[in-house]
Amino acid sequence: MHLAADEQRMMREGTPAERLSMKILTTLGDVYGAERLIPIASAHVSGVSLKTLGEPGLAFLEEFAATAKVRVRTTVNPMGMDLDRAAEMGVPEAFVAAQRRIAAAYARIGAEPTFSCTPYLVGNRPLFGEHLAWAESSAVVFANAVLGARTNREGGPSALAAAVAGRTPEYGLHVAANRRATHAFDVRVPMRGYRWSLLGLHIGGIVGDGVPYVRGVTATEADLKWFGAALAAAGSVGMFHVEGGTPEWREAGADRLSGTAIAEEDLLATRDRYTTGTEPDAIGLGTPQLSADELRGVADLIEKHRPKPRVYVFTSRTARAEAGDAAKRIEALGHVVLVDTCLEVAPMELWAKTTATPSGKGAIYLPTLCGQKVVLEDLEELLRRFA
């Protein structure tokens, strides 16, 4: 790899954390055939919840943080708990103490305490064409597909290294040719609500690490958030296109691709495949965290249907501040709104054995990370059925 003079200096004379960061980035660059490092506009780091970082990661992070400072704007993923509510929610003190150490280490290196998997909704919103180093697969796919920014699916460690070096190796989705469509899908069914999650799960299972191109739909930004999160969890997807709906669809080169038809049976089969439980003792809303608008919508639906199982709503601190009244209405009916954490990294296993959710990404991670059986279903249908 070719390194500029200041990059060579950082590699030689930087702090231990800077030298290690440069070694991580140049090693990845060599492995993936990058010729150079490119400056990034922001970094977003995963491996913040105790569940995903673990004790080994915490040990690394504390040593690393002693000599690290971020060079670019850096936001961080959700923690394992809303620390303001930990005692009330029965979360063990040892968990809270370790989680506080993780948060302190990220603060020490200068990362913003956003604790959100939707950085693009809490102030770190990339511009078209900007290069980024983002981890958190749902945010990566949103930044690439919906905003037209450019980032690979970084892991926690490589995003951290990029934050400290202010650079990332130029390969993969930073290169225009790799953003072109590899698979096309013709959607022949009406799309709304959680059906976007089903579509994401279904297509993600087909394309692997390809770039899907979807025809026959119109989507809101919120729809694409749920679609992308499910897509990126079911496959190693970092980019997609919606014909007429995402900024790079004209450059996707999809004319040469014949489309695979998506029918109602495909969506129903997907729902059934991920539904492993029947009677939920909790309803989990998040993964990704809800926006302020979604929080208001949920408050209206909960008041309308009065569901029996407790509803756990996961959102960002920013969205709760914006829709504080909605959060109060939800909690007034005995449900709970948590910030700084999210559905799959929170200790749902302390509170439930079967969780119902409309989130496709949630349906994938709740069994493995939280030991849950899952009921995957439309939000309003869930609230009505279990009222």
């Binding site: 995963s46 491996g47 970082l53 080994p56 040990a59």
Partner: protein, 261 residues
């Protein structure tokens, strides 16, 4: 023999191989304090990685798995080196932060647990003093969608009684010319047309690593006339190859030269 790969993280190490056989998930798959393999899907479950040359196709699972290698180093139970078929982010970053020498582009399925190996990651090579490399050509003759396989006689030096393509130890500088010669000697068929020549595939038998040069040829009409090296032949559909009692990597060598790879 010497395995030539690519340096991922520099350094040198001597040791014996722990062959993972399948992609290994570090997070949840390896105990960070003891180095014991926990992954229930791994054939090496219960083995310890500490001080050994870990040979693994590639990593899988969560990207924070890299931190497990760092913890293994802190606990003094890191692998001495990593050999991989294909480096990816999890293993490469893990090797960097734990300072474990790593080489990729190594045909790890030719390695077995217990093989002695000296890794020189700076040069991107791994020397296995007890193993011998032999180059062979294997020709797959095709006719009407079926592939010719032959069963080796009791007169040949290795893999007696096993099903094989038309094969022989490589002689001379031109593998394709040698493959054509083998076809003529072993089947009596001449004038075959080359369909594809494949990348090297490595197979293992005892202390020998076979570097297989695979070829696909279209066979014209005409009877197959076996010589003394084989006792039986069949034209099989490609999907039937996996079920044969065959020489190492027969099906893999065929798949390696199919189009669309």
């Amino acid at each position: 023999m010497r395995f030539a790969g690519r340096r991922v993280v520099g350094g040198r190490a001597d040791g014996t191989v722990l062959a993972a056989e399948k992609p290994l998930s570090l997070l949840g798959g390896v105990d960070a304090a003891t180095g014991a393999v926990l992954d229930p899907e791994s054939p090496i479950r219960g083995e310890r990685v500490g001080g050994r040359i870990l040979a693994v196709p590639h990593g899988k699972g969560s990207t924070v798995g890299s931190y497990v290698l760092y913890a293994l180093r802190k606990h003094g139970v890191a692998p001495a080196a990593i050999l991989a078929a294909k480096a990816e982010t999890i293993l490469a970053v893990g090797a960097v932060i734990s300072d474990v020498p790593m080489v990729d582009r190594i045909p790890v399925d030719a390695l077995r647990t217990g093989d002695r190996v000296a890794v020189d990651a700076d040069a991107g090579v791994a020397e296995a003093p007890d193993l011998v490399e032999k180059h062979v050509v294997t020709a797959f003759l095709e006719r009407e969608g079926r592939v010719l396989v032959v069963r080796r006689s009791e007169k040949v030096g290795s893999f007696r009684g096993k099903w094989s393509g038309i094969s022989g130890f490589l002689e001379g500088p031109d593998p394709e010319a040698h493959a054509r010669r083998e076809v003529e000697e072993e089947t009596g068929i001449t004038d075959v047309a080359l369909l594809a020549a494949g990348p090297l595939v490595h197979g293992r038998g005892d202390d020998t690593v076979y570097a297989i040069h695979p070829f696909r040829f279209a066979a014209p009409r005409g009877d197959v006339r076996l010589d003394c090296e084989n006792v039986e032949y069949r034209w099989v559909a490609p999907h039937e190859m996996a079920a044969l009692d065959a020489v190492p990597k027969l099906e893999a060598a065929y798949r390696a030269i199919l189009p669309g790879r």
